[in-house]
Subunit: 324 residues, 3 copies
């Protein structure tokens, strides 16, 4: 693949999942990335994504440069033609071009503001890097998507599933803050690719972007949705219709063992961090129902598969084009 | 060793010191840690500990992931059964389990609050990582101990001593701030293991925890204690009895060449950073009496010996148990 | 070379530039730095300098330790004989000596305050490290110089020049803030070494330190200076005479295609970050006139050549002196 910005960048999902599985089995230090550099640029904090992606890169032999745009006070100008006499010291055109001189792959994290839907959906930061960088760009969670998480989730379900076409339920859960829709968006797109029996359940007012959910069944009755589920993916998100708002904190949507009784002994998933006894109850997280730690483990190998495929494609392109 | 949380984790101190000495002589890049990751998690700032441990890990071939829990705003919940609706986004149970997926060893620094003795002595953060992590845990200075510093100190004395059983004096010195007891605690435990002629001297009200000092002689007259000393270990600490308080700033306890006259040409030690002309005078630090830079140098090799022993034991365990 | 603190540390400039060119052509992972550590200490923020130097070190096989003196709140005492009872916890004597135990090369960035000319010119931080460190010291931009940038600039001009002795013009340009003179100072010294046809142009009141400009022609009419230029190096700086002040924001000094008409199809250079349409116009930066991205790329190889030469000299010295 050339970039990994959205699930549409995946050419062959089964091949990518197989690669990730094999990297996990081997868990070895490889040499393919020797002398290559991954630059990770964070406009927002990150723990798991940083650690797993850094580890993935190093297992491939790559060097890693980490930049915190926030704490380094690196205010970027994105407007074309701007007269830069304010506090913004560098234009994205130079920033992306310069990072491309030091990095063989650039990975970017940039959350939504959750104020203006159009602005968030423009994915200004990520798309600017894609436009102005001369090297591949990887999405470490953007305003509207988190495709590395979705790949981990697919890998985890593939590992755990006991039937070809399991029933997978994505359920909204309460949370004290208004959160982005990036994780449920990407999970939905991934489930559509996997062709599982996929259902989304959320309170009214919390329907995700219909251009993403498309034909996926959306049910407003959680109990009905959970029936016979093999996997329950739990996540809070803010409203898409009433954009970025927290409409309710309905505690009855929290996932507990009581809720799981109607399922087919479902495995419970969450991207973490998870608020215990708010989003998911202790009796689930501390039981064998939980798959959340496995998901976290698999992030390393999902990232490694993506970085490896990008490195391979870049090597091929440079050999073919003699433009090394 | 399985963990390195307290000096009691050391199985064979002489073997560990010999290993550290040999690593120092070789000062070479090893391969034993290739493909392995050390995660260092700081709840408090660190310079020397971070640099020396990071260098030690890299000399073993390990990759290093550094996390600043403070600046990354990673507020952890430690209470069992908590309903997580406050500002704490992740429970220690997930945090420790997730880090265990990315790291082969987790090293943690967490200072005391110096407000509530019972709370500090519970070593909540460090023990939670020990309980919930599935990989070995190393103490990078906790509320009540700094065992990597103590190992460095033992290595330094072993290098410099001119007789089998030197007289070692740990002396309190004045400081403008109230400091933890972690360094003197661990140094005391280490000296007890080394079976040197060990004396502690401090003003009244500054006696360390009697469960740690045990039978060690504690003298409240500094001049008397210093007589014929071969090593003088200087350190400020706050009161244990009047917990966490600074009772005095008695300048007469500062170590100077004048004070050293009564000693047996003693070498002066300090864990650094040191306040010049407050804790130790220029005429000592700028003279050949000082061993503080050697102590700092030895931190790399003490950490390297600990990490190497943990890696070896983990490799053995996984081979025996076939649970790789 | 022993240190790289100022251009005067360069023994053979042509050899160094040739080395940088060859490292650029090879762009390979080397082993010379294996088991060696570069410590980078930042008293001020850095993006490009950090990334390019870190990449350079890693391409040589070195490990890199990064320390942010600012954010880690590491307040250093520089005064000799100080009684350290204030907020400064460590003296530069210990700091430099300790870092020398963990690092084989120490690189330091410390900007000027732009308040007191004498104080800035004393280069207190950098010189203290030079005095008290026992390993080589590299300047990552100090109060009065930026020699790694100047080496990059020389490398870039050497790559692009179409005649032996091109005309190079360093021109002041407007900027909303008062900036240091470190980049124009070092560029001036470098151009004097290269023996090009070198001219400086700036508004009256902005003449650089005459001890640096020496016999270099300084012209206060920009149009006159630009005539037939092969290279135009654009940079803002604050006044040296009226030390550290911003005297004007004269927009007519901005470099645009209109301004370049009088040149010999000049290539335009800037150390970045650059304020678009304030310092240099879009029509230059977005055209083939611009060489700024090439300059940024070359920073890696300039740093790599410097680090490599220091490593080689250290290895030779230690072999000769048997003081390894």
């Amino acid at each position: 693949m050339k970039n990994y910005i959205d699930l549409s960048d995946i050419k062959d999902l089964q091949a990518l999942l197989t690669e990730a599985s094999e990297l996990k089995k081997a868990h070895a230090a490889l040499e393919i990335g020797k002398g290559k550099t991954l630059g990770m640029l964070f406009f927002n904090p990150s723990l798991r994504t940083r650690l797993s992606t850094e580890k993935a890169a190093k297992l491939l032999g790559m060097d890693v440069l980490v930049m915190n745009a926030g704490s380094d006070g690196w205010a970027l100008e994105f407007e074309d033609g701007a007269i830069m006499n304010s506090n913004k010291a560098e234009h994205i055109k130079e920033a992306a071009a310069v990072l491309s001189q030091y990095c063989d792959i650039i990975a970017v994290r940039a959350f939504p503001e959750l104020k203006d839907r159009k602005e968030d959906e423009a994915e200004n930061i990520l798309n600017s890097f894609k436009n102005y960088a001369s090297v591949p760009v990887v999405n470490l969670e953007s305003a509207t998507g988190h495709p590395l998480q979705a790949l981990t989730d697919a890998l985890t379900i593939q590992e755990l599933k006991k039937k070809d076409k399991p029933k997978v339920v994505l359920t909204w859960a309460p949370h004290p803050k208004a959160l982005p829709q990036s994780v449920p968006n990407s999970f939905t797109k991934m489930m559509q690719k996997m062709e599982f029996d996929f259902v989304i359940t959320n309170p009214e007012g919390y329907d995700l972007n219909p251009e993403i959910t498309k034909n996926t069944r959306v049910v407003h009755n959680q109990d009905e949705a959970l029936k016979d589920a093999d996997f329950v993916y739990v996540k809070n998100w803010s409203s898409y219709e009433d954009y970025g708002q927290k409409l309710s904190e309905d505690k009855s949507w929290m996932i507990s063992q009581e809720k799981l009784k109607a399922t087919n002994n479902a495995r419970v998933m969450h991207c973490l961090p998870v608020r215990r006894n708010m989003v998911i109850a202790d009796d689930v997280l501390d039981s064998s129902s939980s798959a959340v730690i496995l998901q976290a483990k698999n992030r390393t190998f999902a990232a490694q598969a993506v970085l490896k495929e990008i490195l391979e494609e870049t090597a091929n392109a440079s050999e073919l084009g003699k433009n090394a």
